[in-house]
């Protein structure tokens, strides 16, 4: 089956956008709760920053998948 040419960038975009949207949503929720926790107990700031960074893995995964689509799908 031959590809028309536009499927690859569209596929990569969907993979990256999915990860980015999910990360944004997760970080917004963690950020709101984290802000509340830091206001009451500033000593937990370190843990909150780590928790806030965890959803970044989703967008990194999306980026990796998008790169693989561009590089490997011919």
């Amino acid at each position: 089956m031959s590809l028309a040419g536009w499927e690859v960038p569209i596929g990569a975009a969907i993979a990256f956008a999915g990860g980015a949207i999910a990360t944004g949503w997760a970080q917004s929720r963690i950020g709101a709760a984290g802000a509340g926790a830091i206001t009451e107990r500033p000593e937990v700031a370190g843990s909150i920053i780590i928790l806030e960074a965890i959803p970044e893995t989703l967008v990194i995964l999306g980026f990796v998948v998008a790169s693989m689509i561009i590089l490997m799908v011919k």
Binding site: R29, A32, A33, G36, E40, R41
Partner: protein
């Protein structure tokens, strides 16, 4: 959809703050340290090492002894709930929190009416108020300045405060009988009816609030039933003081309870309800018609249910309900400790009086 997401985010923030605030409440160990203090002076010194420090320092300037502790506790309670109202910006959350804070308005109005009814000096009434609700300190001060019960009700009506309506309606009966409990009961009835009306639509949050309010109504009604039976009040008369909207007891159930002849019979009747734990109370307490023991158990049950709300959905009003009850219980416990220290209770006796949750 958009507003729904905003709500969820706000609940996350509110829940985190509530849990942070709860972590600063005194745990069993901290309460035991307070219990072990030999006298009131050392209790006050120990309280200075807790989150009550600022309020205790402020209170020491004006009062000493048990009054100092009482003042600090009132200040702390008021500040805590004013702080919660300040950071809650979401209208739905604010409405739920106000339902809980309104009870302090009711409590303050009752205190003022009681004071005015027995002609207590304005300063003494002012010292007993907890301005944690919507009626702020300036409003309450103005109410306290009024010469009598009628004037207090009139001023509330002039300001269009909602509580003026039940009071105005019940005032003629009160004027005839001089029984202040009629006004107090009208206030209670209005508060619970209004609160239940606000949470009528079906939703998870409304359900939580409705449950805890209905539970409270049951406990208030049970207390009334027990008191009426102890004081041998005629069932027809006693009915006037019962509040509708309870969870376990409907009007028919309450009417039946009120016709029973002794406290033992009421406890026996409650064996098929969630209040079956009352049957474990030692028989001597029942025989002497000492209902304070039963009231203590009911209070404990209510506090445990209230604090238990913390296990509910974190993205709901559950944590606010849980915190409200946990804070209320902490303040009650410290108040008990300070009172018992002035009455020279032993450590064991004092521990029995506390409610640990």
């Amino acid at each position: 959809m958009r507003s729904c997401r905003v709500n969820e985010m706000d609940w996350g923030y509110i829940n985190a703050r509530m849990r942070g605030m709860k972590s600063r409440l005194l745990n069993k160990r901290a309460l035991d340290t307070l219990v072990l203090q030999p006298d009131l002076a050392s209790l006050i010194a120990e309280l200075e090492k807790t989150p009550y420090r600022d309020e205790i320092i402020e209170a020491k300037v004006r009062y000493s002894g048990v009054l100092c502790v009482e003042y600090a506790l009132r200040k702390n309670f008021t500040r805590t709930f004013q702080k919660i109202l300040k950071f809650v910006r979401e209208p739905e959350a604010e409405r739920y929190i106000r339902i809980f804070l309104h009870r302090w308005d009711v409590q303050n109005i009752k205190t003022i009416l009681r004071g005015k009814n027995i002609h207590i000096p304005a300063e003494e009434i002012q010292d007993c108020l907890v301005p944690a609700g919507e009626l702020d300190e300036a409003t309450l001060t103005e109410l306290v300045r009024q010469p009598d019960v009628r004037a207090v009700i009139d001023l509330l009506a002039t300001w269009q405060v909602v509580y003026a309506r039940p009071l105005t309606e019940s005032y003629p009966t009160f004027a005839k009988s001089g029984d202040l409990s009629l006004l107090e009961c009208a206030l209670n009835e209005f508060y619970y009816a209004d609160a239940l009306e606000q949470v009528k639509p079906l939703s998870y949050n409304n359900g939580l609030i409705r449950n805890i309010l209905a539970l409270e109504i049951d406990v208030v009604n049970l207390r009334t039933v027990l008191r009426m039976i102890r004081d041998q009040v005629a069932p027809g008369e006693a009915k006037k003081f019962l509040i509708s909207g309870g969870k376990e007891f409907d009007q028919e159930g309450l009417d039946h309870l009120i016709t029973l002849h002794s406290i033992e019979e009421v406890v026996e009747e409650l064996k098929t309800t969630p209040y079956r734990f009352l049957a474990d109370i030692p028989p001597p307490a029942m025989r002497t018609q000492k209902i304070s023991v039963i009231e203590k158990q009911l209070e404990k049950f209510l506090v445990q249910k209230g604090v238990g709300a913390f296990t509910g959905d974190p993205l709901s009003v559950a944590s606010v309900i849980g915190y409200f009850w946990a804070k209320y219980n902490e303040i009650t416990n410290i108040r008990i400790i300070s009172r018992c220290k002035t009455a020279d209770f032993t450590v064991e006796q004092l521990k029995e009086e506390l409610i640990y949750v």
